[in-house]
C-alpha cells in the first residue's frame, strides 16, 4: 500500500519535473524574443515598458479584451492543429492559409444557400461543406506527395496562391459569388446558418453588442485538441501517422501504406484548416458573416510558428495559440499608448517581428541551448529537408 502510493507520488513528481523541463525552452524562447523586441523598441526611440504594458492591457485588460483575445485564439487553434497533424506524418503543411480560404468561401456559399432551413440543419450542413472543401484542397498536396513525391512545402505554397486567386476571382468585381454592393465580399450567410457568440450577441436575430466576438467554436477547438491528441497517441491510425513521420521506409517495411497515411494526414489537416475558415465566416460577428478577399491572410505562416512553439503537441497548441492571439490583439493598444510626443507611433508590425524571433528560438532551440548553456537531450526529430522532387 505504502509502496504503491510512494511510487505513484514519484510518478507525479517525475511528470511534473518532465513538464517543467519541457517548459523551460519555450519560456526562455519567449523571454529572449521579448528582450530582443525591447531592444528594437529602444533603438526605434520608444519606451519598451510602456509598449509592453499597452500590449498586455490590449490583450487582457478587461473582460471585453479577454473575450476578444480568446475569439482571436479560436481560428489559430484549428489551423495550428492542421499544421501539427501533417507534421506528425512528416509533412510540412504551409498550406493552411489556402485550405482556410477554400473552406471559408465554400461555407459562405453554402450558408447563403441553406440559410432558410432551420438552424439545426443549416449549421451542420454549412460547417460540413467548409470542412469537406478544406479537406479536398488539403488532399491535393497529400496525393501529389504520395504518388509523385512532389515536395509539399512548395506545392502547398503554390496552392495558397491559387486558392487566393480563385477566391479573389469569385468575390471580385462581377465574380459569381460577389456582392455587387460591397467590394470583394460575398453576401452575408443566412441567419440560421450562423453560430451564436458566447456572450452578448445573437447572430441569428442580429441583436446585442458585437464587442464580444468569442463564439462556440472556441470550445470545439478545445475539444479537437484533446481529440487529436487521443487520435495521435492512442489509436492505430495515430501510430501509423507517427511512424511514417519518423521514418517512412521503416513504416513501409512494417507494412504501413505510406501513401494512404500521407493522404489521410493532409486531408485531415485540410479539414481542420477549412473548419477554421468556416467558423470565422459562420461565427465571428467582427467579420459580418460573409467571406471577404483578405480573410485568412497570414494564418498559414502564423500557425506554423504556433505549431513549432507548441512542439507539435496538440494540447500545447492551446496556450501557444493564445500567446500569438494575445500579441495580435494587444498590438493596436501598444501602438496607441507608446505614441511619442511628436506623434510618431510604434508600428504594430513589431509584433510580427517578435513572433518571428519567438519561432527562431523555439524552432532552432540549438541557439537557445547555446545561449543559456543547456544540455541536449535525445528527442524524436522529424527531418523535413528531403529532396524536392524525389520519390523515396
Amino acid at each position: 500500500m505504502s509502496v504503491a502510493s510512494l511510487s505513484s507520488e514519484n510518478t507525479l513528481v517525475r511528470r511534473l519535473r518532465d513538464l517543467a523541463q519541457q517548459l523551460v525552452l519555450p519560456i526562455l524562447g519567449i523571454f529572449t524574443a521579448l528582450v530582443l523586441g525591447a531592444v528594437v523598441i529602444l533603438i526605434s526611440g520608444f519606451d519598451p515598458l510602456k509598449a509592453y504594458g499597452g500590449l498586455w492591457e490590449g490583450a487582457f485588460g478587461d473582460f471585453e479584451k479577454i473575450n476578444n483575445t480568446l475569439g482571436a485564439t479560436t481560428p489559430y487553434i484549428f489551423t495550428t492543429l492542421a499544421v501539427i497533424l501533417a507534421f506528425k506524418a512528416g509533412l510540412f503543411n504551409i498550406g493552411a492559409e489556402g485550405q482556410f480560404k477554400i473552406g471559408a468561401i465554400t461555407a459562405a456559399w453554402m450558408g447563403i444557400n441553406v440559410g432558410g432551413a432551420p438552424f439545426f440543419i443549416a449549421v451542420p450542413i454549412t460547417v460540413a461543406a467548409g470542412c469537406l472543401a478544406g479537406a479536398l484542397w488539403g488532399a491535393i498536396p497529400g496525393a501529389l506527395k504520395a504518388f509523385s513525391g512532389a515536395h509539399e512545402v512548395i506545392t502547398t505554397i503554390m496552392l495558397n496562391y491559387i486558392a487566393s486567386f480563385i477566391t479573389g476571382y469569385l468575390v471580385g468585381n462581377g465574380g459569381p459569388l460577389s456582392n455587387p454592393s460591397k467590394m470583394t465580399t460575398t453576401f452575408p450567410i443566412g441567419q440560421n446558418a450562423r453560430i451564436p457568440t458566447v456572450v452578448g450577441y445573437d447572430g441569428a436575430t442580429g441583436t446585442g453588442s458585437t464587442d464580444n466576438p468569442l463564439h462556440w467554436g472556441f470550445f470545439l477547438a478545445l475539444l479537437l485538441c484533446g481529440l487529436l491528441y487521443w487520435l495521435l497517441e492512442k489509436t492505430p491510425l495515430g501510430f501509423e501517422i507517427r511512424t511514417v513521420g519518423l521514418n517512412p521506409s521503416a513504416a513501409r517495411y512494417a507494412g504501413i501504406s505510406v501513401k494512404r497515411v500521407l493522404i489521410i494526414a493532409m486531408s485531415g489537416a485540410g479539414l481542420l484548416a477549412g473548419l477554421s475558415g468556416t467558423l470565422e465566416v459562420t461565427g465571428n460577428p467582427n467579420f459580418n458573416y460573409h467571406f471577404f478577399g483578405s480573410l485568412g491572410n497570414g494564418y498559414g505562416f502564423n500557425s506554423i510558428a504556433i505549431a513549432l512553439l507548441a512542439k507539435n503537441n496538440p494540447l500545447a497548441a492551446i496556450p501557444a495559440a493564445l500567446l500569438f492571439a494575445a500579441l495580435q490583439s494587444g498590438a493596436n493598444r501598444m501602438q496607441f499608448v507608446s505614441q511619442a510626443a511628436d506623434g510618431r507611433q510604434l508600428p504594430s508590425d513589431l509584433i510580427s517581428m517578435i513572433q518571428a524571433l519567438v519561432i527562431i528560438f523555439i524552432a532552432a532551440d540549438q541557439v537557445l541551448r547555446w545561449l543559456y548553456r543547456i544540455k541536449l537531450e535525445q528527442k524524436e526529430q522529424i527531418t523535413l529537408s528531403r529532396g524536392w522532387g524525389k520519390v523515396e
Partner: protein, 350 residues
C-alpha cells in the same frame, strides 16, 4: 574527386545545355507551343503585330529577371548541399533595403549596391543556423521568411509611413528604345541576370571552386577526405545565394516601381525554387525555366491589356498558370530530375 563527379556528370551531361533541357522534356515545349499559338493568333488579329511581339518579349525578360536570379541563388546553395527556401525573404529584404538606402541618401546606386548585402545578411543567419547549429534547413528557411516579412513591414512603417517620409527612388537605367513612339525598356537588373546565368554556368562547371561545390553537395564526406573544407564551401555558397537573392529583390523596388510595398515579392522566391528544380539545378536550365514562367506572367499582363478586365476567368487562368506549372514540374511530369545527393543534410565531422 573529379572521378567522384564523373558518374553524376554523365547523368547531368545532357541537361547542361539548353538543347539538352529541351530534348529531355517535350512537355514544356508543347505547353509553350500552345501558348505561342494563342499568341500568334492574337498577333495576326493585331493591328500592330511587331509592337505586340516586342512588348511580349521585353515583358518576358522583365518578369523572368527575379525568377532567374532567384533560381541561380537556389542553385548555388543547393549544389553545395544546403536547401534554401528563404530566397523569398532574402529577395524581400533586398527590395526593401535597396529602397531604404536609395530613398534616404537620394542616391539609387548606393541602394543598388547595398541591397544584395541585405540578402547576404539573412543568408548568414541561414548558414549559421543550418550549418553550425544543424537546424532543419526548411524550418530555418521558413523562419527567415517570416522574419524578413516582419522586419521589412516594421521598418517600412517606422521609417517611412509613420514618419511620413518620402519612400520613392528613381529607377535604375536600362536599354531604352522606341517603336512607333511607344517606349520599350530592358532594365539593368535584367541584363545583369542574363550575364550572371553564364557566369554561374562557368563557375559551377569549369572552375575548381565549382567542382568543390558540387562535390560537397553530392558527397561531403568524400570531399572532406579529399581535402575540401566542407563548411567553408557551404558558407560561401549560401552567402553567394543570399547575394543573388538580394540582387533579385532590386528588380521589384529599384527597377520597376521605385518604391517598396509590403510583401511585394509575392511568392517569386518560391517560383524561383521551382525554376531551379525544373532546370535540374543548372544555371542554363534554370534560365530556360525562368523564361517560361516569365512568359506566363507576360502573357497574363498582355491579355489584360488586350482584352481589358472583361475576361476575368481568363485572367484567373493565366494568373494561376505559373503556380500550376510549378506544381506540375514538381510532380516530375516533365521528366524526373535528381537533386544533389546530400542536399538538406547537415554535415558533421565525426
Amino acid at each position: 574527386m573529379a572521378q567522384l563527379m564523373a558518374d553524376r556528370e554523365e547523368k547531368l551531361d545532357s541537361s547542361r545545355s539548353m538543347g539538352g533541357w529541351l530534348r529531355n522534356s517535350r512537355w514544356p515545349v508543347i505547353g509553350l507551343g500552345i501558348l505561342l499559338l494563342i499568341f500568334i493568333w492574337r498577333l495576326i488579329a493585331s493591328p500592330q503585330p511587331v509592337k505586340d511581339l516586342l512588348s511580349l518579349v521585353t515583358q518576358t525578360l522583365a518578369f523572368a529577371t527575379p525568377i532567374t536570379l532567384g533560381a541561380l541563388s537556389g542553385t548555388f546553395s543547393e549544389r553545395s548541399g544546403v536547401v534554401n527556401i528563404a530566397i523569398e525573404g532574402m529577395m524581400l529584404s533586398g527590395a526593401f533595403f535597396g529602397t531604404l538606402v536609395g530613398a534616404l541618401t537620394g542616391n539609387i546606386w548606393l541602394g543598388f549596391v547595398v541591397a544584395p548585402f541585405a540578402g547576404v545578411a539573412l543568408a548568414l543567419i541561414h548558414a549559421v543556423l543550418s550549418i553550425y547549429f544543424k537546424v532543419d534547413q526548411i524550418i530555418s528557411g521558413t523562419v527567415i521568411n517570416i522574419f524578413a516579412f516582419g522586419l521589412t513591414s516594421y521598418l517600412l512603417s517606422l521609417i517611412f509611413s509613420s514618419a511620413r517620409r518620402n519612400a520613392e527612388t528613381e529607377l535604375l537605367p536600362g536599354i531604352k528604345f522606341n517603336l512607333d513612339s511607344s517606349p520599350f525598356t530592358i532594365g539593368l537588373v535584367s541584363l545583369l541576370a542574363i550575364g550572371l546565368v553564364f557566369v554561374s554556368h562557368y563557375v559551377l562547371f569549369y572552375t575548381s571552386w565549382g567542382l568543390r561545390t558540387r562535390a560537397v553537395g553530392e558527397n561531403p564526406k568524400a570531399a572532406d577526405t579529399a581535402g575540401v573544407n566542407v563548411f567553408l564551401v557551404r558558407y560561401v555558397n549560401v552567402l553567394v545565394s543570399g547575394f543573388l537573392a538580394g540582387l533579385a529583390g532590386t528588380y521589384f523596388s529599384l527597377q520597376v516601381t521605385g518604391s517598396f510595398r509590403e510583401n511585394m515579392t509575392n511568392g517569386t522566391g518560391f517560383i524561383a525554387l521551382a525554376a531551379m528544380i525544373f532546370g535540374r539545378w543548372t544555371p542554363l536550365g534554370s534560365w530556360g525555366a525562368a523564361l517560361l514562367f516569365g512568359f506566363c506572367q507576360a502573357l497574363d499582363s498582355a491579355l489584360q491589356s488586350w482584352y481589358g478586365q472583361t475576361l476575368d476567368w481568363l485572367h484567373l487562368i493565366t494568373q494561376s498558370l505559373p503556380y500550376v506549372v510549378t506544381i506540375i514540374v514538381l510532380t516530375g511530369f516533365f521528366g524526373r530530375s535528381r537533386p544533389p545527393a546530400a542536399v538538406g543534410q547537415p554535415y558533421s565531422k565525426q
